[in-house]
Symmetry: C2
Subunit: 382 residues, 2 copies
Amino acid sequence: MLTAPKRLLYGPGPSMVEARVYQALAQPVVGHLDPFFFEVAEAVRAGLRRVFGTSNRMTLAVSGTGTAGMEAAVANLIEPGDKVAVFVCGYFCERLADMARRHGGEVVRFEKPWGEAVSDEEARQFIMRERPRIVAFVQAETSTGLYTPGKTICDAAHEVEAIVIGDCVTSLGAMPAEVDKNGIDFAYSCTQKGLSCPPGLSPITVSGRALERIRARRRPVDSFYLDLKLLEDYYDGRKYHHTASSSLLYALREALAAIEEEGLERRWERHRRHHLELVRGFEALGMRMLVPEGRRLWNLNTPRVPQGVDEPAVRRHLLERDSIEIAGGFGPLAGKIFRVGLMGPVATAEGVRSFLDAFGRALRDAGGYTPSTASASPTTTR
Amino acid sequence: MLTAPKRLLYGPGPSMVEARVYQALAQPVVGHLDPFFFEVAEAVRAGLRRVFGTSNRMTLAVSGTGTAGMEAAVANLIEPGDKVAVFVCGYFCERLADMARRHGGEVVRFEKPWGEAVSDEEARQFIMRERPRIVAFVQAETSTGLYTPGKTICDAAHEVEAIVIGDCVTSLGAMPAEVDKNGIDFAYSCTQKGLSCPPGLSPITVSGRALERIRARRRPVDSFYLDLKLLEDYYDGRKYHHTASSSLLYALREALAAIEEEGLERRWERHRRHHLELVRGFEALGMRMLVPEGRRLWNLNTPRVPQGVDEPAVRRHLLERDSIEIAGGFGPLAGKIFRVGLMGPVATAEGVRSFLDAFGRALRDAGGYTPSTASASPTTTR
């Protein structure tokens, strides 16, 4: 029998999964047209509306990972020749731009160094100048730890009648996605981060405005698998499209039930509070955060790697000695940041404390770092 | 806690899943770049090569259902303007043609009524006349129960230097897919039929010939999620592409291990033997099969609905009284056939016997059928 190691998942995702969710995952499979399947699917859709903060009828879990959700947004909304404005300040915005081009979009970019925030004024001016048909941004940039709620972007976009795609892959379930309040037209996410569920599905939600745009397309969506009209016919009309995984939906149903029992706002607050503890811990170790206060993701923390520290060695040590997974930076941030997730079951005082113990030890033993000296003068470390 | 009903899955899929596979599914999640993840992924890739009957290095499980595998084949192989020859004699061939058009293919069709086989001579002549760049066919047509191994099609296609896409969604693991022997260049399947695993992944295998074609593309694949080059970089180069589901890979690893323990040929033979028993049972009930002998899928049986029988009522009765799922026909076969899967754990003498008992009862009690009269003269029933 396959036996997996029990990792402590402090990376950018997947995150820890509670026992009740694993139990749901292993419940007996039913058919993709079974009445019980649709009962579960409807419960999932209702739960997703609540975590997304939306009343969009068109809310469902796409049968693929977060990247499939991103592609669903891009493939359904963009037609060849459409001008697509993308705010690029991290890896997943780059991916959005790449995808938009693949599906025929004419991409215009507003760029910032990875991890730097676009100001409200910059966002507005860019959109007003370019007047695109579609605007895409990342609310929770997993490569940098930057949070951009999106209200200014959406307001400006709607003034020029653009549709907004918002990446909520890392925010959903752990901090406010607030799709309706922010005005995001097509939001997508994943199950394995803020929802504390195994990976395999991509929650999406689509506004009436976006649906109108999609219904007015001149040519069919290039992807059959991700064609929203066909997904709508399946979930609303029970017309076969593909064999959605009852197992993954069971798990998501249970993960959403756990979130409702805790209370969504309470869950956000728990992530915020322990994020602040974790940041204080990093600072006590003499480290500085990449992202300025107020724009930090609560559930994905990105302390800079102190000078001279062997970053891959620290991660390897954590994995091998403590079975703790964290991630490093990549692209322009390779070797420059750690990416430390604090999601779901480990977003607790004990989760922070035990992580900081192990992390401090790994920095010292494997990274060649002397936190004691550094912590005496945190602000001058680098 | 979510509790799912224990269905007896005798439909076209999903099929029954063994306890050991559920146990693997519920093992702790690990990261998508964890060494253990790649250990499992490599074991899955090796196991898939054996069930596909191939030595293709490029064999892996796409993070989506069978339809995602179909789209991976179409999106990677077809460039706008490519001539694509499709053999159309059922729903999934229609879907292939639809998808090929969405991705820019110029589709030429060879049509037969649903359930009727294309002869070797017809296949050859069509390919020689059209000289397409890509040929697509369905080896195991789930909508009709027809089996088309594909050797003649592949031989002819290769003569004109076409690449062959073969749909093995329903054959893989239950009857010979034999990708290399038949000459299929890009085969795709699913986990929830012949492999007796929960749905969520799509095994694919790609020949060197097909890879060359893909590498020589003039423009990028429109789908980022299904771009084979990126999937290759992920699985061979361990370069992040998406967060593949460790849970689903655990389950597939365990399902493949169970198949190896049984022996692939022995498993095929088990499906063949009990398929013959099931067909005898249908005939004893006075029913006739849609597909002629020799071209029938062993694991998906399609008896015609006897005249006057209320087909949906029979299915509803089976589901409600016996918790047995079977399917009906659709499209031109709506109301005309039942689709009865006999896959994995239920492909046994006891599985056949208990199904026939319940099915005979449902035909009589809900369908208004008198099998006793009919079985006296099976050949004249319709």
